[in-house]
Subunit: 132 residues, 2 copies
């Protein structure tokens, strides 16, 4: 709980019970959360929390760089607690998205880019994950 509070403060986010509850959910182990998943879990701790509040706070956390918004296949939005740069691997069989370490992929661009000044990039890979 103290960790969470410290983290919110570090990111310039004011404290409310709703925000603490949302942060407790999204900063847990799993790294990709849909808004509705978060809402359902937060409701267990705070039954009166409204859906709009969850959405508002998730988007605030993105704006304050506590989370990153990621787009899955089909346009579904999830919130990612890993804000460090990383790439994504989409397992086409399971539909699962996995984080790939930044250094695992090297990207070089050529002059053919022309007018585009690249500030940031991310590689989306598709394929399958070998059986464990």
């Amino acid at each position: 709980m103290e960790d969470i509070i410290a983290k919110l403060r570090e990111h310039g986010i004011g404290l409310t019970p709703q925000r603490i509850a949302v942060a407790q959910v999204v900063l847990r182990d799993r790294s990709h959360w849909s808004a509705d998943e978060v809402w359902q879990l937060v409701q267990q701790r705070l039954p009166t929390v409204s859906r709009a509040t969850v959405y508002n706070n998730l988007n605030l956390f993105v704006a304050k760089h506590l989370l990153k918004e990621q787009i899955l296949q089909g346009g579904h939005v999830v919130f990612d607690s890993c804000v460090e740069p990383h790439h994504h691997f989409l397992d086409e069989q399971t539909g699962q998205i996995h984080d790939v370490p930044w250094e695992a992929v090297r990207v070089e661009t050529h002059d053919a880019l022309g007018d585009f000044e690249v500030r940031d990039y991310q590689v989306i890979m598709r394929g399958r994950r070998r059986n464990h």
Copy 2:
């Protein structure tokens, strides 16, 4: 009109007035179309066309490789008449997405990928486009 019909046939798509109208819109000059944009334009030619029909046919065209589905920032889905492999550049100032030639970017992967067998990839670049 004949071009459109030939194209639909090549891709194994049966002919209906609705499909011809949708194809006429999306195979025009601009390369990224939202479903609702398509619907509005198609309605001008076929006022009874339903939204579901437009969605159904856009998704069919993707399935038959006449179009490619692309996900924009925020999870918005657009349909792209350029089905050749290409990368994307998102202009952060205008929110516009631009196609980048495949060869303009080279990607190498390393062992750190581990379990992931990459079949396909795409690079999403962000930045700005120099003034014209």
